[in-house]
Amino acid sequence: MSKQTSIDDLFGQARATEPYFKDQGFVSRVNAKLPMVRKVSAAQESAISVVAAILGCTVAYQFVSINELVALIPNKVTLTPISLLASSGLISGLAYWLAEHKRSY
């Protein structure tokens, strides 16, 4: 018997006597960890958001005049150390959240 055949025979023996592992709760453990299935697809979700936004804008348009909204836009911005710190903190936080969110998916 060649050496190569011996190793192959050993694996053959293992194959022939391979144990069958009973479920023993394995399937239910997998089931419990399965992520929830989305009832609505991503495309449908986006469509619903767009329709809701259009509806919201239409309703808002009835109650608030354009001139009043334009008047709310600031025409002068003053940069202070506190506002700089706050905005850089906000941007860093957002960047961190995006990076983490992307990694976990």
């Binding site: 011996s6 190793i7 192959d8 050993l10 194959r15 144990p19 394995f26 399965l34």
Partner: protein, 186 residues
């Protein structure tokens, strides 16, 4: 009538049917858990954790499954990736001194049913001496009897690498399992 794997997969992909997926898990769990025990030096807990993760990943990615491959082959591919990630993380932890050493892990590996699965556990322990890639190739080729081409597809490595892994793996196992060959197969 028993539903085929393909029919079940289509149901899972289209409707997210958990019952169909449970049937798939039930059908393939034993083979996958055995293979992972062989890959992990018969560490039952680790093998079952990896098998669990493999099925969860399979569920999440079922839409990307292509029916030209066997479902089991696709599972092996996910399982192999899971295993590689696990050992990479474990190595990093070991280097940084957070985790227990490989020797300590090896000590707790053999379960109480050693006599029952003696050959299988000895094979698993010998396989543990091989690099991860070689171990998987050897298992798929010698135990699961997949073709070179199937192994290339599952592991996404060139044909030459598969052949080299088989030759080197055989040579190493020949030395490690010499006692088995002399006692049982001479």
């Amino acid at each position: 009538m028993v539903a085929t794997d393909q029919a079940l997969i289509e149901r899972v992909a289209a409707q997210g049917c958990r019952d169909s997926f449970s049937t798939l898990v039930e059908r393939h769990q034993s083979d996958l858990r055995y293979s992972l025990r062989q890959m992990t030096g018969w560490d039952e807990a680790l093998a079952d954790d990896l098998a669990q993760e493999t099925f969860i990943k399979a569920f999440q990615a079922i839409a990307s499954y292509k029916s030209n491959a066997k479902f089991s082959s696709w599972l092996y591919r996910i399982a192999y990736n899971q295993m590689v990630s696990h050992y990479r993380l474990a190595r990093n932890r070991e280097i940084s001194g957070i985790d227990e050493t490989v020797a300590k892990v090896a000590e707790r590996k053999l379960g109480g049913d050693y006599a029952e699965h003696e050959l299988h556990q000895d094979l698993a322990r010998a396989m543990q001496q091989l690099p991860t890639q070689q171990r998987m190739v050897i298992h798929l080729y010698l135990h699961r009897q997949l073709t070179h081409q199937e192994i290339c597809t599952i592991m996404q490595i060139p044909l030459g690498t598969v052949k080299t892994c088989i030759n080197r793996g055989r040579a190493t196992l020949r030395e490690l399992l010499s006692s088995w060959q002399n006692e049982d197969l001479a």
